[in-house]
């Protein structure tokens, strides 16, 4: 009996060893140019405005193409990246996915992590996109994803609070610092920056230093462009924002909001915190918790000479198809519908930003839908000398390095010099590791 047990145990180990070491079978279903009856899964993250519009768009698709059923999977941003990562690593991801820019590096470093959309031109009209916009979704020679919209973070303010304080929206960094001192008399804050999933604290500090030095924090090919001195400047600038009462300290913010997102925070809804740095494509969730028309777009902060360099843009979202899908033609047709269909464009509006597809943008222009905060943000950014964010900057591990440094400086557990040196080393080592 003992021998039998040992034999069974040995067999298990051998099977496990072989199963764990054999690479997955990468057989990709080839397109046949036909639309067959099937059911597809489509996943996205976002706020309620995006969810409602997308569900309506799916209803329209189901009416137009009753043979191809779309099953929606959606939720908020928190935890979404982790969910998709686990789905992709276990090959259970949806057929069609809304993905983030940095996922291309994380999930498809060699271009084989997603379906090559270049093979699906019979269903997907790519002529509606500029070459530069299409290039955002390319990994090597493979088109892994199509950009839905191009967006950047800009500043939005609670107009009621500003008018009650008799204050104008800040135009320069010095204006912002002065505003903090002025708001502090009433216990208010003109802006909020976080170190959670948004990571806006480090983002704004990077913009400030990029504008001063002309150096990009991380280059598009994944190299650290900042020196230790630059990182020190960025962390010192962040500390100055806290000390000038522009933003809450990490401790105050955590005490007041816990782990809740800013748009769910009573401090923001009640107007004690009167500004937010947010993607133009995602500002709807902040807009919807305040009375209509209260949230307004402010100018990009510049130096005293009006130089707006250093602000950043990126593809806000992209659509990708799973490499494991059994229905690539149908999935491509659905993406084409989301991106280029005129009726669908009207339904989706600007819930994913200003459409990168010329056709969809023209529809919204004609219907007068391009007039919200998203459009204002896009106009503000298009008038500035923006740079494209490196996808490496947004990787989760990198965000951990930024947030650790900011938190240490904010709590005073580490001085700016040593926090900067530690962050410089961590970022450099990690970039070197993933570039290999």
């Amino acid at each position: 009996m003992k021998k039998t047990f040992l034999k069974i145990a040995a067999a298990c180990c051998i099977i496990s060893l072989s199963a764990c070491s054999v690479k997955k079978n990468d057989s990709v279903t080839k397109p046949d140019g036909k639309l067959d009856k099937c059911s597809l899964r489509f996943s996205w993250w976002g706020g309620d405005d995006r969810h409602e519009a997308t569900l309506k768009a799916i209803d329209l698709w189901n009416k137009k193409y009753p043979d191809i059923t779309i099953t929606p999977e959606y939720g908020g941003w928190d935890g979404w990246s982790e969910k998709v990562t686990s789905q992709v690593s276990s090959s259970t991801e949806p057929d069609i996915m809304q993905i983030n820019y940095d996922w291309l590096i994380a999930l498809s470093p060699d271009g084989n992590g997603f379906y090559d959309l270049g093979e699906l031109s019979s269903q997907l009209d790519l002529s509606q996109f500029d070459d530069e916009v299409l290039s955002f979704g390319k990994v090597g020679e493979k088109l892994n994803a199509v950009t839905v919209s191009v967006s950047g973070r800009s500043l939005f303010y609670n107009s009621q609070v500003f008018s009650r304080m008799g204050a104008d929206y800040p135009e320069t960094w010095n204006d912002l610092i002065a505003l903090g001192n002025r708001f502090s008399e009433d216990g208010l804050y003109p802006l909020d920056l976080d170190i959670q999933s948004g990571g806006t604290a480090w983002y704004l500090a990077v913009v400030y230093v990029q504008q001063q030095t002309g150096r990009q924090f991380i280059t598009l090919d994944g190299r650290l462009g900042f020196t230790v001195e630059d990182i020190k400047n960025a962390l010192s600038f962040y500390k100055q924002l806290e000390e000038s009462h522009v933003i809450r300290t990490v401790r105050t913010r955590t005490d007041e909001d816990g782990n809740a997102a800013l748009y769910q925070s009573p401090e923001f809804i009640g107007g004690r915190v009167a500004g937010v740095l947010e993607w133009g494509s995602a500002v709807g969730k902040y807009e919807s918790v305040l009375p209509e028309g209260v949230l307004e777009a402010g100018p990009l902060l510049t130096d005293e000479k009006g130089c707006s360099d250093g602000w950043m843009i990126k593809p806000s979202l992209l659509y990708a198809i799973s490499k494991n899908t059994k229905h690539p033609d149908e999935a491509a047709a659905f993406i084409n519908f989301l991106l280029n269909d005129e009726e669908c464009a009207e339904i989706l509006g600007t819930t994913r930003g200003i459409p990168a597809s010329h056709k969809a943008e023209a529809v919204l222009q004609k219907s007068g839908a391009l007039n919200g905060l998203t459009k204002e943000s896009e106009s503000i950014l298009s008038n500035a000398h923006t740079v494209t964010i490196s996808p490496y900057m947004e990787l989760s591990r990198m965000k951990e390095f930024y947030n650790t440094a900011i938190e240490a400086v904010s709590y005073g557990t580490s001085d700016v010099d040593s926090a900067a040196q530690q962050m410089f080393d961590s970022v450099n080592n990690y970039l070197e590791k993933i570039r290999k």
Binding site: C20, R251, R253
Partner: protein
Amino acid sequence: MKSRIYRNPVGVSRFTGLLLILPFIIGAILFIIYPFVCSFIVGLKDGSGDLGFDNYKNIMSDSNYRQTAAVTFKYTAFLVPLKLAVSLLVALLLNCELKGIGIFRTAFYIPSILGSNLAVIIMWQYLFTSNGLVNQLLGVIGIAPVGWYGDPDKAIFIIVLLRLWEFGSTMVIFLAALRDIPNELYYAAKVDGCGSIKAFFHITLPQLKNIIFINLVLQTIAAMQEFNAPYMITGGGPLGSTRTIGMYIYDEMFRYGDEGTANAVSWLLFTLIGAVVILLYRFTEKLRRD
């Protein structure tokens, strides 16, 4: 009345026993042994796919891991004794024959049914914010508001309190054991002039020692595996003061996509839990035998 005779449908042979436990063996191989072996092998793979113990060496020298291990032990050390004490106390109170006692027993068990669902977590989040109910109540009795979330020394207690509130399952086990203690022992003690407190220490506790040990082991294992509550309530902050080993594994696996490190840490956690349980067994051996 004629009794019915049941016959063994599979017959009796040297393989009968094996055949009967075959479903369990298949399940254990597929869902326990196979994932265990796979996890161990993946934990040996570094970023380049080579097998070795590099992941374990890197983890041991990682200050983040050491911090999460310290947080996990601190959390366990605070939660488990408190939970056992509260569960036992409430079980003693509920072990009386009053009219409507069933309602109280059910009421105390409800938090355990709710568990860490989203509604409870959201309620918990707002209870402890600066302007939350807890600080408002403290204000009524003249205590200044406490910064629960932002203070690295206090944040862990929000998680401890949530889990403490969910003491129902431990209490039920104690309650069942209390009801098994023969009343004759208490009658005899009373006749000998023994008071309630003395009876508790000389009758109740000795009778419950094995059950206390079982609850101690179960709660220690659960506490060391803690993930949900800190992940949802504090996100591991501030300054990593509520980041448990469970969160470290989750972050490595799903946030950073490092399967090797995540699986290696899982094995380390498994080993740590095993070591703690063995230590508990050894330290309490004499007490349980006496």
